[in-house]
Symmetry: C2
Subunit: 192 residues, 2 copies
């Protein structure tokens, strides 16, 4: 029986590429792809995919959308993905993977789907303020500069930073920067 695959990916190039690489495989039935998350839940109900191949940046929403259903969720990765996000997926498809490798991962994910991808537990979450502070840290501002920008005392900024560190477990500015980058909190233009 064919594995039903739903691709969820905003890039037309990649969707086209995947479709043309997978469409004639004997053990795969491609559902028509989704380019965004808007109607994902409806698509899942209607299409009954066994496996979803999802842009890694849409990780959390996609996993939520399949809400307990037995769907193997594969992350589609362009470049950098943090371990936390990675752990949401059964497996990772890298954009540089060969066609054979991708088919292989899809088939394996389908068998995975007997145990549904349970949303990972105990995920910390940063508060609004912590997130804004993190962003400024990742932009390279000092505590004093951040304090001025946010109109609070440096004590407050330091407090938030302590919380960020204890929640994420990341101590260094470098690590926090990567974290912010990976979570799309900042982009390449931070390099003044």
């Amino acid at each position: 029986m064919k594995t039903r695959v739903l691709i969820v990916e905003p890039s037309q190039i990649i969707v086209e590429g995947l479709v043309h690489m997978l469409q004639d495989k004997p053990n795969i039935k491609l559902l028509s792809p989704e380019y965004n998350l808007q109607y994902l839940q409806e698509r899942i109900v209607a299409g009954k995919p066994d496996v979803m191949l999802v842009n890694a940046n849409m990780a959390a929403q996609a996993v939520k959308a399949c809400g307990g259903k037995k769907i193997g969720v594969l992350g589609l990765v362009y470049q950098y993905v943090d371990p936390t996000t990675r752990s949401l997926f059964c497996d990772i498809v890298d954009i540089r993977d060969s066609g054979v490798a991708i088919v292989d991962k899809i088939v394996r994910a389908a068998s995975y789907s007997s145990k549904p991808c349970e949303p990972t537990t105990d995920r910390y979450e940063l508060t609004k303020r912590e997130t804004t502070v993190l962003i400024e840290v990742a932009k390279g501002l000092t505590n004093k500069e951040i304090a001025n920008k946010l109109n609070v005392s440096t004590y407050t900024v330091i407090s938030h930073r302590k919380n960020i560190v204890s929640k994420t477990g990341i101590k260094s500015v470098a690590g926090l920067t990567v974290y912010a980058l990976l979570n799309n909190l900042i982009d390449e233009n931070v390099l003044e």
Copy 2:
């Protein structure tokens, strides 16, 4: 007359995607794509492309390979590309661009190619030691830790860091981390 386009991109998915998006366009003639840089120069001589669409990570080599020839070089970008690399290209094709946008950029790049893409001048360069220090900084190590790892005194590490700052103009650890990430000096696994 059709614009001759050479795609240089290691990812099969992306190449397939681009080929299927571009192959039937009336004003574009696709040369068979290259997946790596090995025979690029020969391919350029043989195929006489007007435009090259090149993975941005291969920027420097690709521009060098077209050595003064009148070729419009477009950078193909997955995610993050630093301004310096960006400046090597006539224009940037983002992986999320639509088919129409890509065709448009190709056509414009073809007219560009009357003035050949001259490699940017005055590029500073980090020395070997500076680069290794930068990498460790971007991994989040302290000067002391770096000194131990490299078996030099912290004074030396600090010296190197001063040089890095004066050469790159980037003062913060956050900025240096982004820089290292963009230049593929470190990868996602830095998040312990």
